[in-house]
């Protein structure tokens, strides 16, 4: 019952926008460079604080080391369980298939990776009536996270769920801005609630583009910008008063959650971010707002 209400809420004010089939079809270098230069300054943001670029990754690292163990519980509390539906939505857009090579970035706790795997299994089993096919054995999901604590949580959870025997999950500590995967090696790339914490978003996007195969899909789930008048005010109160308090009570860490809400407001809005994805070379870029823009799912194809 609660789930049903949540589902309705999650799809409330669901909007879909297809961006113009990029005015710059093959993004001309000067435009992309100019945009990158514009987005780029040597000072970067850590929430509302201006910090030096070198410091941001360290500060973000501290946040996630500090909250790793209570990360998923906090997500449940803060989003009243909605993050599960948002992630399910992300997976259905990804449309995983048996034999797929998939990279989930910033997904250390395995939340997205396990969903991809489950979906592939259900697809495979429906088609093959329970027998493990060779294609299914080729399936591989790579989880990349810069934070070792988050990866350890994920690895432990994978073992608890009995995934470690199947050899279809790999854990790699790595930087979204300098991925350690071969060019054109992935069918899919997801990043859920991660790109906001990256120091240079455009570098992460171009790395995503690099590792994807032609035809591969980029999907990004991120907390975004609410533009619905009254709802925006409520959301602001919730963000700036309620969330840091929950953070303090549950994770024992108010500051990390203060950073979280500030970083959401600093992140480029839906249109701007879609434009950045196009500038990285992706085509058919579109986004979907969920819950009035509390979160957005951006998608693009490498063609």
């Amino acid at each position: 019952m609660a789930m049903q209400a949540a589902r309705r809420l999650a799809s409330w004010s669901l909007q879909r926008r297809l961006l113009l089939p990029s005015q710059v079809q093959a993004p001309s270098i000067p435009t992309a460079a100019a945009a990158a230069a514009f987005l780029h300054s040597h000072a970067t943001s850590f929430g509302y604080k201006q910090v030096r670029e070198e410091d941001k990754s360290k500060l973000v690292g501290n946040v996630f080391s500090s909250v790793a163990s209570s990360y998923d519980l906090m997500n449940d509390l803060m989003s009243v369980g909605l993050h599960r539906l948002w992630k399910d939505r992300l997976i259905s857009k990804l449309n995983p298939f048996p034999g797929m090579k998939h990279l989930d970035v910033a997904g250390g706790t395995g939340d997205v990776a396990f969903r991809v795997l489950e979906r592939i299994k259900s697809v495979g089993h429906r088609a093959m009536q329970g027998t493990l096919t060779e294609t299914e054995e080729d399936t591989h999901i790579y989880v990349c996270d810069i934070n070792p604590n988050m990866l350890n949580v994920g690895k432990k959870r994978a073992a608890e769920r009995g995934y470690s025997k199947e050899h279809c999950l790999s854990w790699v500590q790595g930087d979204a801005e300098a991925l350690s995967f071969e060019d054109g090696s992935m069918d899919g790339y997801t990043i859920a609630f991660g790109i906001r914490n990256v120091t240079h978003i455009e570098k992460a996007l171009s790395e995503a583009y690099r590792v994807l195969k032609r035809g591969g899909r980029f999907l990004c789930l991120e907390l975004s910008h609410v533009d619905v008048p009254v709802f925006k005010e409520i959301y602001d109160v919730y963000s700036f008063s309620v969330i840091p308090t929950i953070g303090e009570l549950v994770a024992g860490d108010r500051q990390s959650y203060q950073y979280l809400v500030e970083s959401i407001r600093r992140f480029p809005n839906q249109e701007k971010f879609a434009q950045m994805i196009q500038e990285a070379g992706f085509q058919r870029v579109e986004y979907e707002n969920l819950v009035g823009g509390v979160v957005a799912i951006h998608s693009g194809l490498k063609l």
């Binding site: 990754s57 090579k101 591989h140 790579y142 810069i146 070792p148 990866l151 350890n152 690895k155 050899h167 279809c168 790999s170 854990w171 790699v172 500590q173 790595g174 930087d175 300098a178 991925l179 350690s180 995967f181 071969e182 060019d183 090696s185 992935m186």
Partner: protein, 86 residues
């Protein structure tokens, strides 16, 4: 393309599974990595950097890479470790 895998396959279970080794490259040079049994690390000869493997998780964050000693890179080369004291 499968050079990393070839180097790892002789090593068996302990190091890095093949599916992972097949796609891993150096995050800096994007060139293949070599597994060094002696140090239990992944070496990028192109970048002259080695990356640790911790609890079976390769740590391929550029800033965690360690510059290789000159003798590890080229044994015949005379060592001139002036800028990496410590």
């Amino acid at each position: 393309m499968r050079r990393t895998a070839a180097l790892l396959s002789t090593h068996g279970g302990r190091s890095i599974p093949r599916a992972l080794a097949d796609v891993l490259v150096c995050p800096l040079s994007k060139q293949p990595l070599r597994y060094c049994e002696a140090t239990g690390s992944l070496v990028s000869d192109a970048a002259g950097v080695s990356f640790p493997v911790l609890d079976g998780i390769p740590s391929l964050v550029p800033k965690d890479g360690k510059l290789l000693d000159d003798q590890e890179v080229k044994s015949e080369q005379e060592s001139s470790t002036t800028d990496s004291s410590g």
